[in-house]
Amino acid sequence: MLWIAIRMLTGDRTKFYGLVFGIAFSTLLITQQLTIFVNLIERGSSGVYNVPTADIWVMDKVSRTTEVNYPMPSTALDQVRSVPGVAWAVPHLRAGASVRTETGDLEGVSVIGVDDATFIGLPQRMIEGNANVLTMPDTVIIDDVGVTNMFEPGEDPVGTRLELNDQRAVIRGVADAIPDFGSQVTLYTRYSQALNYVPGTRNRMSFVLVGASEGVPVQEVVKAIEENTGLRARTRDQFARDGVDFIINNSGIPLNFGITVALGFVVGVAIVGLTFSLFIRDNIRQFGALKAIGVTNRKITRMVAAQAALVGFIGYGLGILGTVGFIWAFSAEPTFKGFYIPWQVPLLSLLAVVIMLVLTGWLSLRSVLNTEPAAVFR
């Protein structure tokens, strides 16, 4: 009987394609929007994960994220270094600046000052050049998103001179970095050099990056730093999470994406529900005849479930494929760099599709189950 059910559905091509389209569109919208949402908010932690060597981030008590920070006096570095369990501690500066390019364009950039001696604070992978170029005067390393934003395709940024806050800067390398939330151009330079680039205030050190001594639990070092210095200390993962939470709590992004996802679900329910009920209504006499002949309600339910499962399977598959295609097609765009589909997202879409089909299938099925077999004689 399931074969008959499938043929009944696929035989009505308009409605079959309508149902598949409804599910596929809904799946695409839900999966694509959730994927973008998750990847975007994860950008809140990019500053942390670009520095994987730091176990602990130490900051002023009011600092919240890598981007929302309040500078500390340079003495904080010595305070941190003196805490038991701290293997090493280096200064880290993050500030905004303006750049004038050779062609006269103005670009807002993030300047990141990394440790002069160890270059801790610089992303680990370089696309062009190496970390040692930072020892050269006026050197900055630009991130790959910056290259895309500031240069024409195929143009080599290395050797380009910039006017960075009225000072000379020369690009001598390209870092492979996770873009920040706003996909802003990032320039890495030595900490001492960064102090020159960033307008002066008394305190300019944004963070102290810390490595925990071997064998000492990171959480214990965090506690010790806070107790001994009065500063705020967070493990790498905690601080990464802080960045994500900050975006969730302080932007309209979750609401906006939530509305789109909800719309995807509602549109899916509307298209699928309407098409499914039309299909059932068009075939109500056939279902009635089957009931009269001797097909039980249980078998009829299985038939409708098989029809729903078929359109669900095809529609969901197409929707997921569409999302993969979308991510793949835009992977070269800086905004979408490193985007991936977390496994939870397709699972959530699947759940939405199942709910959609159960809901619409049940509503449509009711009319079949309530149809008296005797109706076929009328």
Binding site: M1, Q286, A289, A292, V376, F377
Partner: protein
């Protein structure tokens, strides 16, 4: 579902005191008034009456798809309304074949698969069921149309597919609703001849709801229903009709 063995002339269907009421708003309308009737095996029985006379209601009750308000219905010895819901559905599947006025064929499967539906519903393998259906279509002289969709068949051919579907599982009772309504006179008579040849046997019965006077002469027995009561029971139609 086991049923008693019935021989020609014995009652295939027996109704006693069958009444059926319908609710129309606050009003209760009685469509059947205590019908006592025996439909004999080996006969082709016509149920004739004007629209609204209750013949569709009566036939629906006799084949187990509409519950009577009162009364008892025995089909081949089984009191069908004492069966559970699932048992009754299974009883219909095993013992009754239906031919609907509008055929109600499934448009997206071919003629053979349509005719095979009752066998597939019984759980028979699809290929085997289809094979048997093609044999039945052959008896109705349309085996060559087995692979065609209903939309590719003429009205008469669709009618035969519907007949094949009603007979493929060799039911003991065949119920036809206006089988000739959409056919011209000669096609109608051919269909009735076919039905007689294929469906009528000593232990089987055929009931036909009709008001097509062109085929009255082919009946073994004619029952006339008026206002929910049997007003005539004979080999021919009464002269005043």
């Amino acid at each position: 579902m086991s049923t008693a063995t019935i021989t020609a002339g014995a009652a295939a269907i027996s109704t006693r005191g069958v009444t059926r009421d319908f609710q129309a708003g606050q009003q209760t309308i009685t469509v059947l008034h205590g019908i006592d009737l025996d439909i004999r095996a080996g006969e082709m029985t016509y149920l004739v009456g004007e629209s609204g006379s209750g013949k569709t209601t009566l036939i629906s009750i006799m084949c187990g798809i509409l519950w009577p308000t009162q009364g008892e219905v025995k089909v081949f010895g089984t009191d069908i309304y004492k069966l559970g819901d699932t048992e009754l559905v299974d009883f219909r599947l095993q013992n009754i074949g239906f031919i609907f006025q509008q055929y109600n064929l499934i448009p997206s499967i071919d003629a053979a698969s349509n005719a095979a539906v009752p066998l597939i519903a019984r759980g028979m393998n699809r290929a085997e069921a289809r094979e048997k259906a093609v044999v039945m279509l052959g008896k109705l002289n349309i085996a060559d149309q087995a692979d065609k969709l209903p939309s590719q068949l003429s009205g008469g051919q669709q009618q035969r597919v519907a007949i094949a579907r009603a007979l493929v599982h060799e039911p003991r009772l065949v119920v036809c609703d206006e089988p000739t309504a959409a056919l011209d006179a000669s096609s109608g008579r051919r269909v009735m001849d076919l039905l007689r040849n294929v469906a009528v046997a000593a232990d089987r019965s055929v009931i036909i709801v009709t008001h097509d006077n062109r085929i009255f002469d082919l009946a073994d027995r004619i029952l006339v229903l008026e206002d929910g009561r049997i007003t005539h029971d004979g080999k021919t139609m009464p002269e005043d009709h």
